[in-house]
């Protein structure tokens, strides 16, 4: 993309993009931290994740303000407008991913404090979901930086798999609960955690759709996978 006549405008947009990347990095750390705390039953790490969520919220507000300022001062159009609008939506999704990480950490603390049913934290499918969504998050942040809409489209498609894993996890945990009612409290907590992970996948998908909007100017939400394929093929 060539430069603006106004250098100041260029540097304002660059600064917003840089902030989104930093916020994305922080959210990724939070998510990985929360998943590790859960997998390793690490009380200290859970606490840390909960405390650090404030930082994510602050970044969201700072970026939103910067977007509003650009709209007021520069009246962005075309690619610039799409960028500012998409950033302001994407940071909301990033902030929500941060919230899900915090929830995972809090629930982990509950499980550790309860002290029973710890084996349920070792369910393979949950770990798998965690790895899958962490990868989606890393890749969608990458796609955002490079405005790579093909990569973004593949992330949108992958969200379905996370949803399937979630349903499998629920089925598996129900069998544990039926076998041994003492596991019910912890099994429910693990379902909450799996649900949080599943939500992270949804947010990654939303951000991927924002990337496609910036790059192609097309709103691909609610199109379904067939519609998405059609849009990506167009032009």
């Amino acid at each position: 993309m060539s430069e603006h006549l106004s250098k100041q405008f260029d540097s304002e947009l660059d600064s917003i993009r840089a902030h989104v990347t930093r916020m994305g990095g922080l959210v990724e750390e939070q998510l990985l931290g929360a998943l590790n705390a859960f997998g390793e039953s690490n009380q200290e790490l859970s606490k840390l994740i909960v405390e650090r969520d404030k930082g994510v919220d602050e970044m969201e507000m700072a970026i939103d303000t910067a977007c509003a300022n650009i709209v007021v001062r520069r009246q962005p159009t075309a690619i610039d407008l799409r960028m500012v609008m998409a950033v302001s939506k994407a940071v909301t999704d990033l902030e929500r991913i941060g919230d899900e990480a915090k929830k995972i950490a809090k629930t982990t603390r509950k499980i550790i404090e309860r002290g029973s049913g710890g084996c349920l934290t070792q369910i393979l499918q949950v770990r798998h979901m965690g790895e899958q969504t962490a990868t989606m998050l890393r890749e969608v942040l990458d796609a955002f930086v490079r405005l790579d809409f093909a990569a973004a489209a593949s992330i949108v498609r992958r969200d379905k798999e996370v949803d399937q894993h979630f349903r499998a996890v629920v089925r598996q945990l129900i069998t544990y609960m039926m076998e041994d009612p003492r596991t019910i409290s912890t099994a429910l907590d693990v379902i909450f955690i799996a649900k949080s992970i599943e939500r992270v996948g949804d947010h990654c998908k939303n951000i991927a759709e924002d990337v496609i909007y910036i790059a192609k100017g097309r709103d691909v939400r609610h199109l379904g996978l067939k519609g998405l394929a059609r849009e990506m093929g167009a032009e």
């Binding site: 603006h4 075309a78 192609k216 100017g217």
Partner: protein, 265 residues
């Protein structure tokens, strides 16, 4: 708000005028090249583009202002619907054309006459003399131009006694008094302050209930605010024409995008 994903195709909309394969030469200088575009009926179309790209030249071709100079050459057609009159046909009387299309310029240019005489000028040219008809026309046009309440008690004062914004609305009233089918605006607010500009933009939006409007503007936000369609011109060519929303959100041509986002070409 239009909830549907894709807007109505432009080709399906009623058309008031059509520019077809239009070329224009100022002597040896080829100022407009193969321009083809519609003016959709009772819509506002904005012409944007860098200084010298030919916006005013195109606008002026509509009311045959270039006829005044020998050496200027037209090619192609500008068709006015529904009667399919080719405005450029030498057999078409330019005075008649100017009754059907009225022009408002960048700087308000009232005649050195009273407010009243300015408004009914076109009627006088047409030979209307009946006082009551002229009075009615003056009031109607001044009301349509949102000026009536400010001047109704001083209709016979000189037009120059009005403020800049009032003078511009007077020129709009004068343009409206001939009941034109198309209004042509060449940067109508560039000499006016933001408040007056906002009121003229408001007026343009009201006027399109009745007339088709073509407006040249250097103010990109103004184009985005008032127009339904936007044409981007560059070096005498029409680069892109489309719905204003599309041009300002996702233009198809990189040159359009560079221009409206303020980038180096």
């Amino acid at each position: 708000m239009n909830p549907s994903h894709s807007p109505i195709p432009i080709s399906a909309l009623p058309v008031k005028a059509e520019v077809r394969d239009f070329n224009f030469h100022y002597g040896a200088f080829h100022a407009l090249k193969d321009i083809t575009m519609p003016l959709c009926e009772r819509k506002v179309t904005a012409l944007i583009g860098p200084s010298g790209c030919g916006k005013s030249t195109l606008l002026r071709s509509f009311n045959r202002m270039h006829d005044l100079y020998a050496g200027n050459r037209y090619g192609g057609e500008i068709i006015l619907h529904p009667d399919q009159t080719n405005l450029l046909d030498p057999r078409v009387d330019p005075i008649e054309v100017r009754m059907r299309l009225s022009m408002v310029f960048q700087k308000p240019n009232p005649f050195p006459k009273s407010i009243y005489e300015n408004v009914i000028y076109g009627q006088r040219v047409r030979g209307v003399t009946k006082r009551s008809l002229l009075d009615d026309k003056a009031e109607e046009a001044l009301r349509a131009a949102a000026l009536w309440n400010e001047v109704k008690h001083r209709l016979h004062d000189m037009a120059f006694a009005l403020s800049g914004g009032q003078q511009q609305r007077l020129c709009i009233a004068r343009a409206l008094a001939t009941d034109p089918e198309i209004l042509l605006f060449d940067e109508p607010t560039s000499a006016l302050d933001p408040i007056v500009t906002a009121s003229i933009e408001e007026l343009i939006t009201e006027l399109k209930e009745k007339v088709t409007i073509l407006i040249v503007t250097h103010n990109m936000q103004q184009a985005a605010r008032v127009s339904d369609f936007t044409a981007y011109m560059y070096l005498g060519e029409l680069i892109e024409f489309g719905y204003t929303d599309e041009i300002f959100i996702k233009p198809r041509d990189k040159r359009t995008e560079d221009y409206i986002t303020g980038r180096f070409g």
